[in-house]
Symmetry: C2
Subunit: 520 residues, 2 copies
């Protein structure tokens, strides 16, 4: 038994096989992996050039055997094999999963605070740009990136992608009804060219080059400890990708799951702004959800992101709420309301971006973006960043990746560092004065104005007091810090008990951290 | 006929009468005023020292007679008289009334945009401070001031008032049940002294000195063109004023109406934060509303201001919505929703104050306060200011008056000047891109992104674009201005038609004003 792979690492089986006809669709491969504690049947996939593969992520340490079956070859040369799953390396904590119903944690129990970013089309940009993006991510606080598998057509996104997800063809797999429907639902801003979709792909034949690039990028993100939040469909299309018929689309999802499911850092996002894809119905989304959920042996996180009204996150196969802002004024302030409603983790995946472009979803200040992050995390949720500064070459981080220009990432790192110190790993929204949002950990006493927690952060948002009431029990002892979330300083006010009016700097975006040091 | 008074001016009849017993309650005086176009029966009031008065505001020009009746004197010396109502002087536009269902206008038809401010206890401060407040108001943009008749007990408000609204006594008129109820509902912030109410007034005998001061201040405000939004009750009491029994309280309201109703600039606000007065029920408020409405021959504006959930503004006697913020994050963004719901004018009377005190309702920035004003006015509503900067002598404009320290008043003047130029006098909320609020006047064409109005202001709030789509018909001509609502500049971009991306300065708080200069 020579082969070794880390627990939660990726083990790949590769075989030669037939390549006649449409090997993606005409042949099948399944591999059963057996260890002491699990037996998992994995669907393989055709990877071009007569090669079939199957991928597996072991969830336990120890010896595994596997057995390959299928009609992809007249005879499978080595139908059986074995390997050993060894202890995970230091930065491998396993996949992120739902914990305690409403939390996110790595499989090894390490709490996960999702500080996401969004680069919708980064993996379809020229290779040098992709490498630059990875380099930028390496030096960023981001531990999740949200990106599309299909290319994107939109303002600032009018160039063709590096590769297409399907081979060129003659529209095999298209639904003619959807092609008609598209004509009256074509997306374009005023002043943008109205593009006629090409429809000249064979939607039944994946372009392996395109898929291989995503293999590489997902693996690189995994090595960097960054979750890959893969968006499988989206509205901003000029290639006819939303006019695939039921069969082609369902099969595409299965192929994606078979191919990428063994990467521990993958999350499935069925769509960006599902409701803006007028060609698809709620029944479609429900079927997609069940396909992905039903075919993923590794049970990755799975959700659907909205444009307008959110998806019905109460569906069994939805693991978490993936949200866009509530309206132009409110976003993450409703985090706890969503947790309350769905009893699932809440991840804000679009809260407007730091930037200065022409439209309001892409021109808020760094201060406002960071404020929205704090609101989310103090209420027990998670949040995603994006950046849209005008650029002479139209390279905007939100879509193309490249470099970060904004002021928010440094502040998000500061936030993450504070979150990582929370005892027990998680904050819950507590009771505070009406103008603050309180995240707490541990016990609490009293109610209303005199509520006091073992550990709490009182975030003041846009308020800028020069003093602040601190209401503590008379018989305990608490350490009180002022956190300047924008200037990234923490100032200790020392230990105190009872009622105080503490001096505050009179700036916005402050928080008070109050930690019990002695029992009452 | 020697006596002359302006139309909408105040005409006062004064007589000697009895002063035995409790002349406030024991005797009655009514005066009937007759002109060509109106006949109005007015209730008089005892003004101390054996003097009875009745006040009248003529609504028409021309000759008036009056006749005094009552049991306040054994014989009324001059029971009849006459005067002439002459044309109003230049700055006298009459009382502010509801116009077109959802607008406010002076009685002479001049549109009224309510740029209010709040100085709850200014009229109970030392005289020098009151005079300073009037001087400050004279050089301010404010055309309404919101203030209490009763003294106020609250943080920064622990000194006794200049005078009390009732004569000293032994609790005559108190309701013992309410005195009991008060004990479990006493207001105080942590760290504030819990005051035991005095209860040593005679609640059936107004203190004439207190009421006379309000006569003077209301008249001075009237001369300055400032509406006096009189708050008749409020929760922040340590004198037992909310423990008056039904009879005493109802009578107090009638006395106030008889005394101040003839000042054209008076508005009645039954309460500040009515729902925070735990001693009063919804039935009480309903009765108060009917008393004030039923006894005011001049039909002044009348509403009730909320702390939490708003009052049911659909009641007949409520002339307009008098609102506090919706929650800590949303305020005036809901203006059009309230107009839609109640079909009445919407006046935001508390949207948090510019300042830096310890609590969030009193420490927002000038930028945020001005933003909330723009949101209100673009949506066809009205808005009120307040200021709460810490002060070495605890003189905060919001309660005490004095001087203004903030950055917002100059910007509110700038806003008012822009509003005054709106053709036809009023803005209606129109359709815009999701990140802007559009106020328009005149006609409009198209819908959604390509909606275009004869006259419109597109307010961008917290957005900070460096460019902006302007979508106009190809065959008209429009003048486009950039309004910097914070730096108070208006920059013309010249005339244009069709689709443009105009350069913007990349700052928050900008608006585009688009005015048709040539028909399509």
């Amino acid at each position: 038994m020579n082969q070794k792979v880390e627990k939660w690492g990726l083990f790949e089986v590769s075989c030669s096989g037939k390549s006649d006809g449409n090997p993606f669709r005409d042949y099948e491969m399944t591999v059963t992996f057996k260890g002491d504690k699990e037996e998992v049947k994995v669907t393989g996939f055709y990877d071009g050039d007569g090669v079939y593969k199957a991928r597996f992520m072991p969830s336990y340490e120890g010896a595994y055997t596997y057995e390959i079956r299928g009609n992809f070859a007249d005879e499978i040369t080595e139908p059986k094999g074995s390997f050993e799953a060894v202890a995970p390396s230091k930065d491998n904590h396993g996949p992120v999963t739902v914990s305690e119903g409403i939390r996110l944690a790595y499989k090894d129990g390490t709490p996960y605070y999702s500080i996401g970013t969004t680069c919708y089309a980064w993996a379809n940009q020229p290779v040098k740009r992709q490498e630059q993006t990875l380099e930028t991510l390496k030096n960023s606080p981001f531990n999740k990136i949200r990106f599309c598998f299909f290319p994107k057509f939109y303002e600032f996104n009018t160039k063709e992608p590096l590769t297409y997800p399907f081979e060129r063809g003659h529209g095999e797999g298209l639904d003619p009804k959807l092609v008609e429907l598209e004509k009256t639902n074509r997306f374009a801003f005023p002043g943008m060219r109205l593009e006629e979709p090409d429809y000249d792909f064979d939607y039944t034949r994946p372009n392996v080059e395109h898929f291989k690039r995503y293999d590489l990028r997902i693996a690189q993100l995994m090595d960097m400890g960054i979750e890959a939040d893969m968006i499988l469909m989206h509205p901003y299309d000029k290639w006819g990708l939303n006019q695939m018929g039921k069969d082609a689309c369902d099969w595409y999802l299965k192929y994606v799951v078979a191919r990428y499911g063994a990467y521990r850092n993958v999350w499935w996002s069925l769509a960006n702004e599902f409701d803006f894809i007028k060609m698809k119905t709620l029944e479609d989304w429900e079927r997609y959800g069940q396909i992905v959920s039903g075919h993923d042996p590794f049970h990755h996180l799975l959700s659907v992101h909205n444009g307008g009204p959110n998806y019905d996150f109460s569906k069994d196969w939805v693991t978490h709420c993936s949200l866009q802002r509530v309206d132009f004024y409110k976003t993450t302030e409703d985090t706890d309301a969503f947790i309350e409603k769905y009893h699932k983790p809440v991840v804000w995946d679009e809260i407007c971006y730091e930037g200065n472009i022409g439209l309001g979803w892409g021109n808020i200040t760094g201060q406002e973006l960071v404020r929205r992050f704090w609101e989310a995390f103090m209420r027990g949720g998670h949040c995603g960043h994006g950046e849209t500064f005008m650029d002479p070459e139209d390279i905007l981080w939100w879509s193309h990746g490249g470099i970060l220009k904004g002021e928010s990432p440094a502040r998000l790192k500061f936030l993450l560092d504070i979150l990582k110190e929370v005892p027990g790993g998680y904050l819950t929204k507590g009771e505070g004065l009406f103008d603050e949002v309180v995240g707490y950990a541990g016990g609490h006493t009293g109610e209303g104005m005199s509520t006091c927690y073992d550990y709490s952060i009182h975030y003041l948002g846009i308020c800028r007091p020069v003093e602040r009431m601190v209401i503590l029990p008379e018989d305990g002892e608490f350490e009180v810090d002022i956190i300047d979330t924008w200037n990234m300083t923490i100032t200790s006010l020392g230990k105190m008990k009872g009622f105080h009016k503490v001096k505050m700097p009179g700036n916005q975006y402050m928080a008070l951290r109050i930690r019990k040091v002695k029992e009452a």
